[in-house]
Structure formats: structure tokens, C-alpha cells
């Protein structure tokens, strides 16, 4: 019998696997674009975390005591877990190009810059209206169309949550459409207040 608690654990673990694998892809492309070892190393650290998460997930699924007729559904779950792992491995291969110190070919940079989505990295200045707000209040996506992928605070990497409070000096790595990049830079530098506050 699958208890409620067990069910919730499986859901949470799969959410984490999916989000982490996609974050890794974004970070891997960013590492390439910015030629950043730091970001590539972050992908590497996440890859190690993924391996553990994936094992924990599989053990949870296998120990859920399903009935024979449910086994197909549970196989589907196991396969989805494998897919997130494959995606994470692909991200690692991309980050590896940076870690090996291969000179990033102009082709690669242009591909990432030209792709529909762009990645940008900014430091939050003291003057930014974002300082002290949590991500929900900050309304970055509503204002600029860019969404924050990851926050670097000192040595720490934070996954953005709606209740994460933005501090001056935070480095935000965000992805979105090239059109929103300028608005995003203005918002984080504080050169111009967001329109919602002007009106």
C-alpha cells in the first residue's frame, strides 16, 4: 500500500530531479556563453547531486509496495527518472567543454546568443529597488520577462524560491528573451525604477 507520506516523497524527489536537470542545462549553456569555469563547476557539483537523488528516487519507487497490475505505471515513473539523468549527463558534457579549457569557438557563442532565449548575469546594486524584496514581490518576470535561474551569494548558490530575499551584491543569473535583458539590467542596477512604482 502506498501511503500518503511515501507518495509525497516520490513526487518531491521527481520534482527535484526534473528541476535540477533543467537548471543544469541552463547553467551549462551559460557557462559556455560566459566562458565561466565557476558555472561549469556548479554543473559538475549538481551532477554528483543528481546521481544521489536518482538512486534515492529509484529506491523510493521500488519500495512503494505496488500491486502487479500497477507495475506498468511505476515503470513509467522509473523511466522518467532515467530521462532526467540523461539530461543531466548531457548538461555535464556541455560544461565539460568549459572545464577542459577548450577555447570557446565563436560559433558556440553566436549560437547561444542567437538562440531564442538568452542568459544574462548581473550584480544587484545597493540602489536597486529589488534589494530587500523576496522574489515574489520583486515581480522580475512580470517587469522584464526574464526569470532568475540561480542566485550566487558569496560562495553559495541559491535556487530561487518565491520567498528568497534579494540582497545587494547578489549575482543573479537569469534567462529570457533578449528583449527583456535591458529592462532586467536597469532593474538590478537601480538606474530606473520599475514602471509599477513610477505610476
Amino acid at each position: 500500500m502506498l501511503t500518503k507520506g511515501h507518495f509525497r516523497k516520490i513526487v518531491d524527489k521527481l520534482v527535484l530531479l526534473k528541476d535540477t536537470s533543467e537548471l543544469m542545462i541552463d547553467l551549462a549553456y551559460s557557462s559556455l556563453l560566459l566562458n565561466s569555469r565557476e558555472l561549469a563547476e556548479e554543473v559538475q557539483a549538481l551532477e554528483e547531486r543528481m546521481d544521489n537523488l536518482h538512486t534515492e528516487f529509484e529506491l523510493l519507487v521500488l519500495s512503494s509496495g505496488f500491486k502487479p497490475k500497477e507495475s506498468k505505471d511505476f515503470l513509467g515513473l522509473i523511466r522518467l527518472g532515467v530521462v532526467t539523468e540523461e539530461i543531466a549527463d548531457a548538461a555535464m558534457e556541455i560544461a565539460d567543454v568549459v572545464l577542459r579549457g577548450l577555447e570557446p569557438h565563436p560559433i558556440l557563442r553566436r549560437v547561444i546568443e542567437e538562440a531564442e532565449e538568452t542568459v544574462t548575469r548581473v550584480r544587484v546594486s545597493n540602489a536597486s529597488p529589488l534589494v530587500g524584496k523576496n522574489l515574489r514581490e520583486a515581480q522580475i518576470q512580470e517587469e522584464t520577462g526574464m526569470w532568475v535561474l540561480v542566485i550566487r551569494r558569496g560562495e553559495e548558490w541559491l535556487r530561487p524560491r518565491s520567498d528568497t530575499i534579494i540582497k545587494a551584491g547578489d549575482i543573479l543569473i537569469a534567462s529570457g528573451y533578449a528583449a527583456g535583458e535591458e529592462d532586467f539590467e536597469e532593474l538590478t542596477s537601480g538606474v530606473r525604477a520599475p514602471t509599477a512604482e513610477e505610476s
Binding site: L80, I87, Q141
Partner: protein, 201 residues
């Protein structure tokens, strides 16, 4: 089992091939998860079609990269591009694996729906009702990505699928939009498509 297509060399730019591979691989992941979430065999089949395209591009890219290298230095500078291309191909394979789960009816456990309610970027389906402001507008005019942070990844129009629709695509009444975005934007998109919200900021 269908015979794979014979590959013939065509001169294309490595950059163009890689850009297309990157864009396709990303959209395929979203489409494949959508197929799982909405139990759509048709969408899963679209993913497998795209997978063939990515495979084709991978061959073209490799052949063109081989011809572009005249010496060791060129080879060193191109290996990064071919490695990244191989990784995008792997991502598209992963998407095809999800599509296969749907097509083989291995089973999509109810847990999956719960998972998709919790992830940061959500997938949604919205039908365009007669009173929607979307009708007869081009995607480029609507600027959904910039205004509400939502991406239209596919449109189902009667029996046809339009995958990764371009800016010139006009939204018609009855279209089913498959979209990706943050939860707030997704809610707004549904309201707009159903005609319950009449304007965007």
C-alpha cells in the same frame, strides 16, 4: 521497423545546424513532458518526428565540421561545437524516450500530474474561445513571452500540430495552445485564451 534515411552530404553552416539542434532539443523536452502530462499520443509522435530531424542535423553538422578543419588548430576549435551538438542530440534522445513511454502505454502514474503542479516552469493547455482577444492576432503582435512570461510551444489546430510556432503564426478560434511558463503567467494565459481576461498590460 522503418529503414533509416540514407544520409547525403549537404553544405550547411555548422552554426545554423547547431542553433537549430539547440532550439529543437529544448522544445522537444517540453513537448515530450506535455505529451506525458496530457496523455497525448499525437504530441508524442510529433516529438519522434523532431528527433529524426535532430539526428539528420547531427550528421550534417559532423560532416561539415570535418570538412571545415584544415589543421590541428581548426580541429581543436571545432571540437567544442561538435561536443555540444552531441549533447543536444542526447537531450533530444531523452525527449524521445519520454515520448516512447507515452506511445508504448507503459503508463503515466498519477504521481506525474502532481509533479507537474509543483515544478517551477509549468506546462499548460488552453483552448482559444470565441471571445478571446487572441483571435486573428499574430504571435509576434501578442508578445506573450515579454508580457506574461509564457511561451507557446505548440498549437493544435483541428488535426494539425504546429510545433514551435513562429512570430507570423496567427491564432485562430478553437486553437489549442500548449504553453510553458511560470504559474502566474500560465493562469493569465488561460484567462486570456478563454476570454475571461480582456487585456494585457
Amino acid at each position: 521497423m522503418t529503414e533509416p534515411e540514407k544520409i547525403e552530404y549537404k553544405p550547411i553552416s555548422v552554426r545554423e545546424a547547431l542553433t537549430e539542434m539547440k532550439d529543437l532539443s529544448e522544445i522537444m523536452i517540453d513537448l515530450a513532458y506535455s505529451a506525458a502530462l496530457f496523455h497525448s499520443r499525437e504530441l508524442a509522435e510529433e516529438v519522434l518526428e523532431l528527433e529524426k530531424r535532430v539526428d539528420y542535423l547531427a550528421y550534417m553538422l559532423d560532416m561539415n565540421a570535418m570538412l571545415a578543419a584544415r589543421d590541428a588548430e581548426d580541429a581543436e576549435s571545432l571540437i567544442g561545437a561538435t561536443t555540444v551538438a552531441a549533447a543536444t542530440n542526447k537531450i533530444s534522445d531523452a525527449a524521445a524516450d519520454i515520448a516512447t513511454i507515452v506511445l508504448k502505454e507503459i503508463g503515466i502514474h498519477p504521481i506525474v500530474r502532481q509533479v507537474f503542479e509543483k515544478v517551477e516552469e509549468q506546462l499548460a493547455r488552453a483552448q482559444v474561445k470565441p471571445t478571446s482577444i487572441f483571435i486573428n492576432k499574430k504571435l509576434g503582435e501578442l508578445e506573450l513571452a515579454a508580457k506574461i512570461g509564457v511561451d507557446i510551444i505548440a498549437i493544435r489546430r483541428q488535426k494539425d500540430w504546429i510545433i514551435d510556432p513562429g512570430e507570423d503564426e496567427t491564432v485562430l478560434e478553437g486553437d489549442v495552445l500548449i504553453a510553458r511558463g511560470a504559474p502566474l503567467g500560465i493562469d493569465e494565459l488561460k484567462g486570456l485564451a478563454e476570454g475571461k481576461i480582456k487585456e494585457m498590460e
